[in-house]
């Protein structure tokens, strides 16, 4: 379909009945061919062409009580922005979007829409849901490609200042909303780049870094100061920062990689997914020796885990030139936490799924480099606490796979650096998360708020952003009233009294 807007077609679509709309098939995004993309780090889907986006938007029937909005953790006015796209008003669409979501190019790419808005979209009951995520991505890309991204209005100076620790999606979102309210905002970021996981974790082929940079640029243009290379807890503590700011928001994420504690895990060539992805993404090791940071030159790689992080690692390994990449996961494919789209992409790229398998030890050569992984087969037993069927080892099923690299992607916990160095900040003893009242995003320490992965453990970009928005409202309330002990923000009390929501 052409890049030009066809006004006649737009008019025709306007006149469709709901029944006609149900007849339009869900539009797909063109993608890079799997054989081709195995060799490069360029983005896989190309995005919808304008008239395809218009057609897709016309599949939406503008429900009176839209389920999709309920399904969105930040409550984007989905029928509103989709309706504007349907009418060919892309500028209107992006403006509507940005009333609630300032990072749409990112969310449109990485949000699990199939679990959220699209899961409850009514057209999905009979056919396929409206491709809300693709439309979100479309309006955001359209605006950026026009070369004039609008800077949201900044509120008149309040005289208050807030320190934000961590420049991931939670921190960025809180910063934007606080600037809108007129507060001065400084973000303290440990790394040399913004974005948190968006920059160091999620690979280029899924989320191009120039897109993250463009969305972060808006934050800087709003007058948010970002201090890079600033490790809170080492340079200054949260207690020090509280002397400079009226409130502090903690958005330090879940950056502590877990290992399984099995023999051979410290052999050379065994990486945490964080290290593997950071070397490749943030440090651009794929461009070695033009970039100075090296990464293993692997032929045979085993990635352990079944989430997005595992898929990202496996697909990165393929692009770094590995000939065989195994994905070792202890449950079955239906239990995999990764997005369906990512599983699908991984398979297309030739990743060998070893489901119902688990590593038990790594075997090294005389130089201490991993050369084999010993696996066992698993079967599914009774459901466990997570509701998923518990994997059980099949006795005597041990076997070896030859590998030269292993990437452990079994999950991340919160980084303890800030919790350990802050006085009076309660931490969940089991999970290491900062205890946060999810109604107010307030912690046990007066003036300190938290949100995102540090508050609930590794979750999603959009939840982190939702927390950021709520925290900003809560901070505004605190800075206006000075009142700390509240259960709910004004106007957000539940209809019937509910048990207090704590960091779950």
């Amino acid at each position: 379909m052409s890049d030009k807007l066809d006004q006649n077609e737009i008019e025709r679509l306007k006149g469709l009945s709901n029944k006609d709309r149900y007849q339009i098939p869900r539009q797909t995004m063109p993608e890079q061919d799997p054989h081709e993309r195995r060799k490069n780090f360029r983005e896989v889907p190309h995005g919808l062409p304008p008239m395809t986006a218009v057609l897709e938007a016309n599949r939406c029937i503008r429900c009176k009580k839209p389920g999709c909005v309920q399904g969105c953790p930040v409550g984007i006015d989905i029928p509103g922005f989709v309706g504007l796209v349907a009418a060919g008003d892309f500028l209107g669409g992006i403006r509507k979007m940005k009333e609630t979501n300032m990072l749409p190019a990112i969310c449109g790419r990485v949000c699990p829409q199939e679990e959220q808005c699209e899961k409850v979209c009514v057209t999905g009951k009979k056919g396929k849901p409206v491709a809300i995520g693709r439309l979100e991505r479309f309006v955001a890309d359209w605006e950026r490609e026009q070369g004039k991204m609008e800077t949201p209005l900044v509120g008149k100076p309040s005289g208050k200042s807030v320190g934000v620790v961590g420049c991931g999606p939670a921190g960025l979102t809180v910063a934007i909303d606080l600037r809108r309210a007129g507060h001065a905002v400084t973000i303290y970021e440990a790394l040399h780049a913004p974005g948190g996981v968006l920059m160091y974790g999620i690979p280029e082929f899924r989320l191009p870094k120039k897109i993250v940079a463009a969305e972060v640029d808006v934050v800087s243009r709003m007058g948010v100061e970002i201090r890079y290379d600033y490790v809170v807890g080492k340079l200054e503590t949260v207690d020090d920062l509280l002397k400079k700011h009226d409130a502090i928001f903690l958005g330090t994420g879940a950056g502590l990689p877990w290992f399984m504690g099995i023999p051979g895990e410290n052999l050379c060539g065994v990486y945490s997914a964080n290290e593997y992805l950071t070397r490749s993404n943030l440090m651009r090791a794929y461009d070695f020796p033009n970039c100075d940071t090296p990464i293993a030159r692997s032929k045979r790689v085993a990635v352990v885990g079944g989430g997005n992080v595992a898929m990202d690692s496996a697909r990165t390994a393929v692009r770094l030139g590995a000939e065989e990449v195994y994905l070792v996961y202890r449950r079955s494919e239906t239990e995999m936490p990764a997005r369906i789209e990512e599983i699908h992409h991984a398979k297309e790229e030739g990743i060998i799924f070893k489901i119902l398998h688990n590593p038990v030890r790594y075997i090294g050569d005389d130089k201490g480099r991993v050369k084999q992984v010993e696996c066992v087969r698993m079967e599914l037993g009774e459901p466990d606490a997570s509701g998923r069927r518990r994997p059980i080892v099949v006795k005597g099923s041990e076997f070896l796979i030859d590998v030269d690299t292993v990437v452990v992607a079994i999950g991340n916990g919160p980084n303890p650096l800030v919790p350990r160095t802050t006085r009076g900040l309660d931490v969940d003893p089991k999970k290491g998360t900062v205890m946060t009242d999810l109604n107010t995003m307030r912690t046990s320490k007066k003036g300190v708020f938290a949100g995102g992965d540090i508050a609930i453990g590794a979750a999603t970009v959009i939840l982190a952003m939702g927390h950021g928005r709520k925290a900003a409202r809560s901070i505004n309330h605190y800075l206006e009233t000075g009142v700390w002990d509240i259960k709910y923000l004004p106007g957000e009390e539940p209809k019937t009294e509910q048990p207090e929501a704590k960091g779950q």
Binding site: K234, N266, P289, D292
Partner: protein, 284 residues
């Protein structure tokens, strides 16, 4: 006023060893003995962990002593005053636990003398008797002897080839010291892994508490990647946050040496390419 991260001085201390003074006032005023920074030269540069040799809260000057061992550190030697490092992050790692132990032997091997200096200084200020053993391969590679003399009660220098001080290894000197003065209350060893390993072999036999400072490969330096993991007493530790100092008697030095060597091939290639580019004038 100098700019943030500006190089104020770059002096050759010995063959392939340079001292850099960098303007980084916040780090200079917060750093404690035993901590390190991570620097990045430019956009394509890697993140290099470097132990802090000194920091002056008044002038905001941070001192690093760096041995040129690969492409990144070789590039550093070409830094001129007035140029800036793109990133300096720190102070990282846990500071040295300073206490009044009694008699402490501080062993600095090669470039390890630089980070040993603030530790000796802090130990002495806390009322310890500090005996420093400085080791180098040969006389021309010995650094900071005068600085160490100022912060030690006693200094013994030794060289592998006998070109200066005693002829022998730091472990030989330590043995003699123990024979002459009895066991110290604590030994602090910083230097090449192989040196620390042999120091620990000796102190383990003698049952002398020993601290070592480890320098595994690192990326972020904040506990996010686990690339810096070391085995201590059978447990995995992230050296960048839980270290870099550990109970030497429990460290698995073999594993550390192997992990340090993991990228040797790539490092060699990068170095060769860099030298070639310098020769043909692509880099000036």
């Amino acid at each position: 006023m100098p700019q943030q991260n500006e190089v104020l001085e770059n002096t050759v201390l010995a063959e392939k060893v340079n001292r850099y003074r960098i303007f980084a006032p916040e780090i200079a005023s917060h750093r404690k003995a035993g901590q390190f920074v991570i620097i990045r030269m430019d956009e394509n540069g890697e993140r290099i962990p470097l132990t802090i040799a000194d920091g002056d809260a008044k002038t905001g000057v941070l001192t690093l002593v760096v041995q040129s061992v690969g492409k990144s550190t070789a590039r550093m030697t070409r830094l001129k005053p007035g140029e800036r490092l793109l990133d300096v992050v720190g102070p990282l790692g846990s500071p040295t636990h300073i206490d009044r132990f009694g008699t402490v032997v501080v062993i600095g091997g090669g470039i390890g003398i630089a980070p040993a200096h603030p530790i000796a200084q802090a130990l002495r200020a806390a009322g310890n008797k500090v005996i420093s053993i400085l080791g180098a391969r040969t006389k021309s590679l010995l650094i900071m002897e005068e600085d160490m003399r100022r912060v030690s009660d006693e200094v013994v220098v030794c060289t592998d080839d006998g070109s200066y001080g005693k002829h022998g290894l730091v472990t030989d000197v330590l043995k003699e010291l123990i024979a002459a003065q009895g066991k110290p209350d604590l030994v602090f060893a910083i230097g090449p892994v192989i040196m620390m390993k042999f120091v620990v072999k000796l102190t383990k036999e003698q049952q002398i508490p020993t601290l070592v400072s480890l320098n595994p490969i690192m990326v972020d330096g904040t506990g996010m990647c686990g690339g810096c993991r070391v085995s201590v007493g059978g447990e995995t530790k992230f050296a960048c946050v839980e270290g870099p100092e550990f109970d030497g008697l429990k460290v698995d030095f073999e594993e550390l040496m192997k992990r340090q060597a993991f990228y040797r091939e790539q490092e060699r290639e990068a170095m060769e390419r860099f030298e070639h580019e310098c020769q043909i004038g692509l880099r000036v």
